[in-house]
Symmetry: D2
Subunit: 218 residues, 4 copies
């Protein structure tokens, strides 16, 4: 069965509804650390366009005072905290706490007030206090950027909807080391977990959302 036939089956099954923007969005940049954005590193690939598109979304979001949160995967020197995942993906052993590989790509211009959540698994919500941060900020919608689409982005989007958040993935802001898994996972995300949209569409929608922002309760 081809992807086109799959679309048809899914329509009959009533999949692919829209979550749409809520009232208080935040931007979550998943794993755009040097280890993933430098094509020379084992886990890296050429994500130059993804970084550029994400930088555009970040600029607009900062202007609108939306919260911006980064994640990075990083482990202790002896990898005790890498668990079973290390068996499947031995290359994560490179991502040591304190190494330049786990720093956020400088092209994203991270500001001092923007937290970096250190994670050990695929999902940005697993083994982190990201849910607590989003809840304390009254966020209801998360704009998910980063890498890889078939790995940490997908896992993060699944966990977001499970936890009651709307997840929106601007297509140009996520990337992967190979095209086939990238497309297959965008398909799954859009059918079942979050909205995959064009960056331009999202930027347009954000304008009115940002205009309607009221400060979170003190």
């Amino acid at each position: 069965m081809s992807w086109a036939e799959t679309d048809e089956v899914y329509q009959i099954a009533g999949l692919g509804g829209r979550v749409a923007l809520g009232r208080r969005p935040a931007v979550l940049v998943v794993d755009l650390s040097n280890g993933f954005t430098d094509p020379a590193s084992a886990l890296g690939s050429d994500l130059g366009e993804v970084v550029a598109a994400t930088a555009t979304l970040l600029d607009r979001s900062r202007d609108g005072d939306l919260p911006v949160i980064f994640t990075t995967v990083a482990y202790e020197a002896n990898l005790t905290d890498a668990g079973i995942w290390l068996r499947k993906m031995p290359a994560i052993a490179e991502l040591k706490l304190g190494s330049p590989l786990v720093e956020i790509d400088a092209r994203l211009g991270r500001r001092p007030g923007e937290p970096v959540v250190v994670k050990k698994g695929a999902s940005a919500l697993f083994g982190t206090n990201l849910v607590a941060m989003l809840t304390a900020l009254s966020v209801d919608t998360v704009l998910v950027c980063g890498a890889t689409t078939s790995g940490c982005v997908r896992a993060t989007v699944v966990d977001l909807v499970q936890n009651g958040f709307r997840a929106i993935v601007p297509r140009e802001c996520v990337g992967d080391r190979a095209a086939a898994p990238h497309e297959a996972n965008l398909f799954d995300i859009d059918a079942k977990y979050g909205d995959v949209v064009l960056l331009d569409e999202l930027l347009t929608d954000l304008r009115s959302t940002i205009a309607a922002q009221t400060p979170a309760p003190r």
Copy 2:
């Protein structure tokens, strides 16, 4: 980039290691409820062969006294507990607590001692006490069967490895409503989260593991 080229890129990135069977496996049957196994239901598809293969694994596992756990997705009548997921997958509204659709497919011969974990999200570990059950049983490896490969099976396997469990997916024991996402997700699982194996291989490997079982501590 084709799937074959993807394989090559992944090999260079050092993905696709093996987790292998640990000491104490359990079988987890994800969402083989009537709502998913009856092709006439909105979320259902023809999973006859998946059910048959899973029944074979269950027989062997019960003989070896391995723990067997089922999951089902089920919601309250007013769907308050379905959250944002309902927007993406309106068809889950059919899966009401108490309805025959949420009962485990009778062909699997569930025994009274085998728990059914009621879940509300994609992963069998999200919003459930499955981790606590597995830990209390000293389980270190989970043999994951069920549906759908691109939905709850994938999400469950990701959460298992994140939580420190080895996940093994016997290929014949998982199924989906469409072939393309099924294959794409088996690819991702095997590359990054758990081992996808042939049922026959697994049954052979299980023999020695079962022979070496010692009772869990009291």
Copy 3:
């Protein structure tokens, strides 16, 4: 060191701040099932006044369209899902799914639209999808009632603040089987996790909060 001297030490340490009501409160009624409110049951005690005070808060909250959620502890017949907790508290074995002991006390007049979250542990957030429900409802504040203060109420309040919610405990709406742990845990809660307030105060504060309610985004 007495409790009065403790107060002084805590003040120096800067504990005991206020979380205060946020914008969207919900009422969470923890474990006021027959198993806990019937003094004749093993885990029960005389909670008549707690039930009456909780009913008052529920009436006012329903009038104001605040979400109301109940929890109950309930296990499968063979207790596979009770885990290690069963060793410490063998009496929980009474709380079987389907038994009248796990039904919500009828004096609370639970309405059909008000969900009952089935939990297996002490915290209402552990092994449940309560966080997802609260987030999907845009709740930022949880008014915690129920039993026991030194058990499930305390554990729930700790998990609420950890997850980014404001927890408020109306003193008359929580109870325990013994006075000493009841008071000791109200002290800890108020010093470190949530606000312990008088029901009358809370009812007054709720009036303006309810008046300011706007519907959650669709």
Copy 4:
């Protein structure tokens, strides 16, 4: 009702069972960072004897090759990750990532291979990947040391039993800034969540457990 009468009520309710040592214990040292062990710091108190008793348990455990894990509470400079807890406990603002206050007390002689889990909440299991680490190490029992008894130790023990682990608290190895909450929480822990034991008893019991250790599966 006095604490002695409480004991009697609890006995009737069938509380206070024993979890006992399992097969693979690990030592978890909760928040014995300088911020808590230095009486001059806002959150600190005189924990010299607690540190000394913990050091004794650590020596014995290292000799027996038991896993040793530390936790520390630490926040980003702008406290975005401190959430609602900051309102109740403004003094946690002192615990900044990179500050000497969040380093483990040097008297415990932490070794390079012993991980420090950075946490943001009370429980060592909340917002961390500690469960994954324990599971990957096949640990079934956690020996909990640290501070404060009425805060992070209590919350950690509750989460451990909820997650299916046996928690054992050597009385001399935990401490608090005030005696009344310390004793009240040891009472609750022993009645409902984990075993409170004397350090000497534990050291004796550990001897045979350590002798029976077999390496975790590779």
